[in-house]
Every structure is written in structure tokens, then in C-alpha cells.
Symmetry: C2
Subunit: 468 residues, 2 copies
């Protein structure tokens, strides 16, 4: 018996997966290694990669960058008016998500949201006049990321909008983000109807006041603690924020009640947040931005500090490469579409929210949020598998963010450009999907991957620096 | 190759587990079936069991009872004064958890909590005078379960205490439970110091007012929906109630703000709830009591409708056996103890909270709450295994309560006395652990099992009824 058992087959299969399937079906054990030639078989990239792996100069820079990311302690400090608090934001500037783009090249939902912002600001009272302001250059657009800001989906932030203000506890960097409007017809998905503008006005007048007073009374709210708790409560703090929103609300409400503001304003604000399970998303994004900005600009570091999409291009920034973007066409997401919509209706991947994955959350922490597969597709087992899949392409683990379903293991964090190119494993992203036309809104959600071309470009750039 | 693979060993091992271990270690596949003789080898019990399995009279009764449990829709309707709203509760009666017991036989924490309730009511101003009231019979004690009530741990409920009022949506049964005091030195764990009594007074004066007004304004809160959401957010709604507490708070706060009550009272109430992640436990218990009372008193049904412990005895009630309790000595829980405490300090298993397991939640739904293993012991994989282990001893699945980690499978619910005796699988219970002495409080938490003797007694009782 024992002899027979010992003879049962164990094989490591490299290459054709169907060969391994046959062995498994007949009762043996085969582990399929999805081998691909490093650097996708491109000789120049392979040569660059060879010069960068096991490179102490880069390894050391990555240790510094990763340590800076780990020790960042983003605190929610208040609410400000975007034009007043966001560095370098002009009074006629509109911020958008993703890498830089000209206003006349933007995708449908971004265009819809820009027009919505112009209407909200009262700079024009119709689309044509608004368009003229863009054409004449009287109104300019710029990436959120160029102004210490992040915004989900279109990411549109105009000067009069209220924004969350996040500061590192050590007095380091600041990060900003707009307030989440909820689901359905909302500006960030490109809708700009009167109800959308009216909601933005209420947020500006009432919600911002209540939140600002409550946070001021709290003295600041530790965001990482909320994120860590939420990972034990089914959130991955990108596309699922039900628990984190509740945890934030729990901290804000007692302060809101003692602001002396009219009880009805407070009640309206609390009802709005209670009815919007994505409310925490923007806070999560700003915290991630703050943690990653702490890791940015470490010379020679190959750690990715931003992944962002503008609905046309997907771009990444890398710690050791300064403010340069490495971009390629944004993919269209093959996700779960709402009834009557399909991939043919979808805008390409959009939004700064992939900053959560860049920080080891979102898709990287999907194992924490098995219920999310109902929103983005797959099974709970896939969610766990995907979290584990990200481990080989990251610099380390963030022990501030642990996941019960991974036996309380820490999230994989700090994407290393070299490891992505070497393994061929593309970073995973959980994302919402906007309709390609302006004014429609969200039509689905799904799982996508950061395009490899961004990482090979960054790798080539890193290889230009003489090795030390 | 294929031939060798096909020869690898597959064995079903019945009996000695170490035999299966040897096969597994040497590379073969063995499934260990933990076979025990039915009915623990007792001939009388085995004979009774033989007459009750595959018995259409009982199967049919169980279908009715289980359907009644499934369709129950407990609604949180308000807050009342225990003595005014709990049926049959006298003005000098104190309710306790578990099966009936004489006051002079109760365990330390129950005694401590009874004295605390007497001090709280102002019937006496010290322990000795309080004891005299019990000795003389001027103050009587009775099980919560005899008065449509459930209470966690000691379960002590006296007439002036505020209680949650739960009603079935169809106007069926009512259920009651006291308000959760939080952790640490609290009455339900047997503490009765001035701070404990003072907190109870504040709950009576302020908290009850705010909650009562908010629920009244809401028109009633659907508890099953909160429980179902919480199962997607890491709670099993017995020993982990972090998400459910937040969800309840989210529904209550906007109403609380419009009650016209002083803002400071409202803020105090919300702060208290925000600071107590177990606040929802009692609501969960009352909802489970309501669902199971709907299934109670179906003639011939072998469905368990209550499991409860008084710190001396463990008792169950069965749908077809009316108000009879089937009791045996309560086990001491081998759990995770707080620093400086051990199993030697523990009171035996205590509290009505096993009503959650009886309803398919708590230990039965542990797969929903992997983080709970940090509180009660084990690994996240154990939590999933335990939820699956309960499937063979239950009548069916409650599709209102699904669990992502079980691929969105429904919780096993409706414990069948016959199946417990037949399989030897004892129902699992997640529980807190009280110190054996009065006045100390909680010293740990852990996982325990309902004792088999309760189920064999119930089986024998069911077998007395002539089969139809």
C-alpha cells in the first residue's frame, strides 16, 4: 500500500497547461507553472532587466521607499475649498483623473463631468458656452496627481468643490480628494443633469459644513486604523467600503452632534452618508495617495507610487523616476455589466482609484472582501487567489493591513516594476465601469489589469541610470 | 505515467484516525470518517432513534416548524420598561438566563448580577439585605425563556430595566431582551460595583429614551436584514457584532437626531453605542428568540428551539416537547483566557446567547467571521470547517443568511435532535466566559459544545409519543 502510494506521480509542469490537466485528471499531482519568457521575450527589455535585478542600488532605494510608505500615518484633518487648499490649483482650473490629457481628447464621461463642473461653478449655463471656455484656454484642466489630489472615475474637481484634507501625522505631505456623491447618476461617472449639480451644491453648502465641523472637533481621524478594521469586515476599501463608511460615520457622528449646527443639517448629512456605502472610497484614496507620496522621489527606486487612468490612457509613476508618467492605452474592462449594458457601451478604464491597489489594497486585498465578487465577478476562492498572486510582484507586506482569510497575513504592497516585468504578472485592479458617452453614468464593475507596457517603459527608464 | 498515477491510493478510513494519517503521510489519499456507534452505543437510545428516523410524522412536523422559523420576520419595535411589557413578569421578579434554578444554587456571576439588580432597583442597599429578600421569597427569580425574553450571560433583567421589544412582522410573537452594557465590569458577567449600577441608571434614564424615540420615529427596524448584511461584514452576530452594531446605529442616528431630545443626550447615547461593538448582540438574540418561538410547539417536531445555560446546567427545549427543558451539567469552556486567568477561574457555560446558534448563527455561521478566531480561538480554516460540520445535524438552510466564504451558501439551521444523537455531532457554540466568583466579570471567550445528554433525553421524550 505504502509503496503504491509513494509511486503516485508528482510533476512540475512548465508550459502548456493542458498537459498538467491530463495528469491531474488521471489522479496524479501536477503543479502548473505559467512560465513565460522574462520581459515578454523582448531582448532589449530582457537585457535592461538583467542589469536591474539583484541590484543593491535599487534594492536599497526600494527598502527606503517601502519603509517610508509603511511608516506614513495619514490623518483626516478637515474639509477645505479645493481652490483655496489644493497647491497650485488656479481659480479656473479643473482637475481630472489619470495621466495628463488635452481637454479635446478626453473620453465621454470625463467630458461630461468637466461640463458638469463648469455648470456647477456657474462659469457657463450650457454645454456650448462651457466648451468655448475650454477651447479658448480660459478654463484649463490638469491631472489630480499633479496637485497632490486623487479623484475616483473622472476625478473632476473644480475650485468651489469641498475636498477632504489628509495630512501625514509627522507633518509630511498633504493629500486631497473630493467628496463621494454616491452611485447612479453622479458627476464622477460623467452625468451632469440638474439633479447632479443640485446634489453637488448641497454637498458644498451643507455636507461640507457638517463634516468640516465634526472633523475639526475630533482633532483628526486616523485613516489607517479604519482601513485595517474594515479589512476584517469585508471591505477591500476600493470597490467595497460598506464597513469603512460605517466606521468613519461612527467616529464623526458624536462630534457632528456637538458642532451646534442645525440638527436638520446634521441629520441630512448623516442620512446621505448612511445611504452611500462608497462614501469612504475617496478618503481611502487620499490616504493611499499620502502613503505613496511618502515613498515617491527616492532616487533609483523601482517602486510604483501611482497607477491612474483617464479613460484613454493608463499611466504609472515610479518612485525613482520623478514626475514622469509611463503610459499606454487604457484597457476596456470585461466585467459585470448592469442589465441592458455590455462591454460595447464601456469607456476604457478610468480613475485615480487604482491608487488603492498601488498601496496594497483594493484588488490586492480582495481576500478580505469575498462578497465583492458579486460586484466585480469571480468566486470567493478567486478573491483569495488574486491576493496571493500579487505577492511575487511586490516589495513586501504591510503589517498594518492584515486579512483574516489569509490566516491574518499582511497585504502584498509596494509594486516593483522589475518584478512585474520579470514575472509577467500584471497588477490587478477592482474598478467601476463608466458608460463611454457623457451623461449616462456607471454601467458595471469588474476586475482589470494594469497594462504591461507601462512597466516595461519604466524599466527601460530605470536602466538608463548608470548602475552603482 | 498515467498508469502509475491511477494506482495511487484512495481509502475511506472508518475509525482510528492515526491509520488515515499514515496513508496521507505516505502520499495516498484517505478520508477519515469519525465513526461512532449511533446513540453513543446505548441500546435504549438506539432503539428510540430507530423508531424516530425516517419517520414521516416527525419529518412533516419539522418541515412545518422549520418553515415557521424561516418565514418569521422579527422587527425591532421599541423600548419598554421590563415590568410593564414582559408578559407575566411581576414587580418583584428577576429574570435570569438558562433553564430554571433555585436562587441559592446559582453560580457566582448570576448571584452577583441578582444582587446588582436588587441594588439597582433600590430594594436593598447591601448584599445581606438583598439576600434576605431572596431567602424570604419576597423577590423571586425565573428564567428569561419563560417570559419571552433572552439575556446574554447572567441574563439578569429586573422590572425597572429598559428592554428591547421585538415583534414578528405578521403580528405573531413578541420577544424581549435587555440592553447591552459593553465589556469589562458589567452586570451580565456578575459585576455589581457602584460604576455598574450607575451605568445601568444612565441606560435607564438616557439611553432608553433616545433609543425609544428613534425607533418610534423609524416605525420599526427589520433585524434580519441587518443580520444578513453583517454576515457579509465579518460578524456571526453572537460573539462578533462590530458590523451589525454599526448598521443598527446607521439606521437609528438620523431618527435620533429628529426626536427633539437634548443634543447632548443623543450624543451620549451614540457615543455609548459607538464604543460598544457588542451592542447589537442582545438585538440579535431577541430576533433569534422570535424566529425560534415561531417554530416552537409544533407537535412531534424534533427541532431544537432553545439552547440556554444558567452557569450550572445546560438546557434545551424542543418544538414538539412544549415547555419541558432537557438539562445536564453545563461544561466549563476551554477557551482563550485574558491574561492572569485560566480555566480554573471560569464559571461553567452561561447565558441565553446560544439562541443565536439555535437559529443557525453564531458558531453555526462562524465561516462568516474569520476574525473571530482571535477572540474564541482556532484558525479561519477552522471557522469554515465548523460551519460545514453543523450541516448534517440541521433540518435545512436559511437562505436569508448566506456566507461569502461558503460560496454564498446559506447557514445550516434548525437543529434536529435525532440527527445530533445519530451522528454524535454536538452543536457548536461561541461564547464569552465569566469568572466563577461574583463581581469579577468576563475573563475570556471560547468555543464549546452543547452536551449530548440534553439531546438523548429529548429523543427519549419524543419516542414516548406513539408513532403515527
Amino acid at each position: 500500500m505504502t509503496d503504491n502510494a509513494q509511486q503516485s506521480l508528482s510533476v512540475i509542469n512548465v508550459g502548456l497547461a493542458s498537459f498538467a490537466d491530463t495528469i491531474n485528471e488521471t489522479g496524479g499531482t501536477a503543479v502548473h507553472v505559467d512560465w513565460r519568457p522574462p520581459a515578454g521575450g523582448d531582448v532589449n527589455v530582457a537585457r535592461a532587466l538583467a542589469g536591474l535585478v539583484n541590484n543593491e542600488r535599487i534594492d536599497s532605494a526600494n527598502r527606503t521607499a517601502f519603509e517610508n510608505y509603511l511608516t506614513a500615518q495619514p490623518i483626516l484633518k478637515g474639509i477645505g475649498r479645493a481652490g483655496d487648499v489644493i497647491p497650485g490649483m488656479g481659480e479656473r482650473m479643473i482637475l481630472h483623473s489619470g495621466p495628463p490629457i488635452n481637454w479635446d481628447n478626453v473620453c465621454g464621461p470625463v467630458y461630461g463631468a468637466i461640463i458638469g463642473a463648469i455648470l456647477f461653478e456657474g462659469w457657463a449655463d450650457n454645454e456650448n458656452t462651457g466648451k468655448e471656455l475650454l477651447r479658448s484656454g480660459e478654463v484649463t484642466i490638469a491631472p489630480c496627481h499633479h496637485h497632490a489630489t486623487v479623484g475616483p472615475m473622472a476625478g473632476i474637481t473644480s475650485p468651489s468643490m469641498p475636498v477632504w484634507m489628509v495630512s501625514d501625522a509627522d507633518g509630511g505631505n498633504q493629500a486631497f480628494t473630493n467628496l463621494n456623491e454616491g452611485l447612479g447618476k453622479v458627476l464622477r461617472f460623467g452625468a451632469n443633469s440638474p439633479e447632479v449639480i443640485e446634489r453637488l451644491r448641497w454637498m458644498q453648502d451643507t455636507l461640507a459644513n457638517v463634516l468640516g465641523a465634526a472633523i475639526s472637533s475630533s482633532g483628526g481621524i486616523d485613516i489607517k486604523t479604519i482601513m485595517a478594521q474594515a479589512l476584517y469586515m469585508g471591505d477591500e476599501v476600493h470597490n467595497r467600503n460598506a464597513a469603512s463608511t460605517g466606521l468613519l460615520l461612527k467616529q464623526l457622528v458624536p462630534h457632528a452632534l456637538r458642532t451646534g449646527l442645525p440638527a436638520d443639517d446634521v441629520a441630512q448629512a448623516i442620512e446621505f452618508i448612511s445611504g452611500n456605502d462608497h462614501f469612504f472610497l475617496n478618503v481611502s484614496m487620499a490616504a493611499c495617495k499620502s502613503m505613496l507620496d511618502a515613498a515617491h522621489n527616492v532616487p533609483n527606486s523601482s517602486m510604483v507610487t501611482a497607477m491612474a487612468r483617464n479613460g484613454v490612457e493608463f499611466g504609472i509613476r515610479v518612485s525613482g523616476c520623478g514626475d514622469q508618467w509611463f503610459t499606454t492605452l487604457a484597457p476596456v474592462v470585461d466585467g459585470l455589466y448592469f442589465p441592458s449594458y455590455s462591454i460595447d457601451d464601456a469607456a476604457p478604464d478610468l480613475g485615480d482609484s487604482a491608487i488603492t491597489e498601488t498601496a496594497g489594497l483594493g484588488g490586492f486585498a480582495m481576500a478580505a472582501a469575498p462578497a465583492i465578487v458579486q460586484f466585480v465577478g469571480g468566486t470567493p476562492a478567486d478573491a483569495i487567489r488574486r491576493s496571493r498572486e500579487m505577492q511575487p510582484i511586490t516589495i513586501g507586506r504591510n503589517t498594518a493591513f492584515t486579512i483574516p482569510a489569509l490566516d491574518f497575513g499582511a497585504t502584498a504592497a509596494g509594486i516593483d516594476v522589475r518584478k512585474v516585468v520579470d514575472t509577467g504578472i500584471q497588477p490587478i485592479i477592482n474598478t467601476g465601469i463608466a458608460h463611454k458617452d457623457a451623461g449616462v453614468g456607471q454601467i458595471g464593475a469588474g476586475i482589470t489589469r494594469a497594462p504591461m507596457a507601462c512597466f516595461t517603459q519604466a524599466l527601460m527608464k530605470l536602466s538608463e541610470t548608470p548602475t552603482g
